[in-house]
Symmetry: C2
Subunit: 209 residues, 2 copies
């Protein structure tokens, strides 16, 4: 019996590109170019997540030949902690939470996931994912540790993501899978993927389960 839903966050629950591009543009930068180049460099590192984001921004600005005051760089780095949800995310999660345990299974760290949840109103039951597993998706240990933390068997949990690779890795660990396409995530976003369930958004997913 399905008891818990685990969610990818970046792209699946929150619209990182519009949010980061908007904050960059407000500082006079070419928003989407900065957002895309930054995301491409996003390499989570367990001990240095905050300095890692900031260093990646320095690299992006250098690469794109842009300048920004140090104080504004620090401020812009926090954009990754206040990403806006997709329009269906919060209502969909609330409906799903009434029947299932819901938690992020993300490569973001606990501090960042908490900040995102408070900003976007994501009503998680717990914060799972990379930090508790001490590994990063698609490493199977991330899915396995997240399921184990809930005291569940893999097939009692379902991974929900907008990215086929994430679902494939979860399925290999025995989790069920749900694909929710986020065509506006970025140019070239996946419109289909192998999954047990596919739904156009989280409200439709609540309906389908």
């Amino acid at each position: 019996m399905l008891k818990a839903l685990l969610f990818d966050v970046f792209g699946t629950c929150v619209d990182w590109r519009t949010s980061v591009a908007g904050e960059a543009a407000a500082l006079g930068l070419p928003g989407e170019a900065v957002a895309d180049a930054w995301r491409a460099r996003y390499q989570p590192q367990l001990e240095t997540v905050r300095s890692g984001e900031r260093e990646a921004l320095d690299d992006v600005l250098a690469e794109l030949g842009l300048d920004l005051a140090l104080e504004q760089r620090d401020e812009l780095t926090l954009a990754w902690h206040r990403l806006d949800p997709w329009p269906d995310t919060v209502n969909g999660l609330a409906r799903l939470k009434a029947r299932f345990v819901i938690a992020p299974c993300s490569n973001g760290h606990i501090a960042q996931s908490v900040n995102l949840a408070r900003h976007a109103g994501l009503p998680w039951d717990a914060i799972l994912g990379a930090e508790i597993a001490r590994a990063y998706k698609p490493d199977p240990r991330v899915y396995e540790a997240s399921v184990a933390a809930l005291g569940l068997l893999p097939d009692e949990a379902m991974m929900v993501a907008a990215h086929g690779g994430d679902l494939e890795a979860a399925a290999a660990c025995g989790l069920r899978t749900a694909f929710v396409p986020r065509s506006r995530e970025h140019p070239g976003a996946e419109s289909e993927a192998e999954a047990d369930v596919s739904a156009p958004d989280f409200e439709a997913l609540a309906q389908a389960l």
Copy 2:
């Protein structure tokens, strides 16, 4: 600046004795005697939390010379996952959450903390404590790992508990402390303890901070 509050759960947020005694009494057992003897044996073990609770119940029943069908033993074991909050807990936490990150820092495991939160309506931002630290309170690693998971320094966090020993251990790690007495937790509950703040309940704590 204070940014997060960490809470002891058993006794501080939930009234384990009344809850467990009530379920035991409903099965024809001497409720408070079973609750007290069971709690005294509660030794969390990271890998075997559920079987541990069940085995402790078997020991308690043998010690008290009581009998109970196996199915009812399994059912009663789950009483520890559906403990009721104190009357001020939920409203107090909601008020505190508006201004601070709130999380349990308990020796309970993530699965149990999630079940308790869903049963009692505890609106945690994350589930911290023993399982993420891989140690048990009062081991300093539990407080340190919980603070670090939020990306905070120790003095940006405050431990809230009804037990002086918990607060003393947290203070030794550099956390601020709040004492909330729960005189009805069990006979002999502490009525005072050394702490930066003392408040009669969570609503008063929200007022005080």
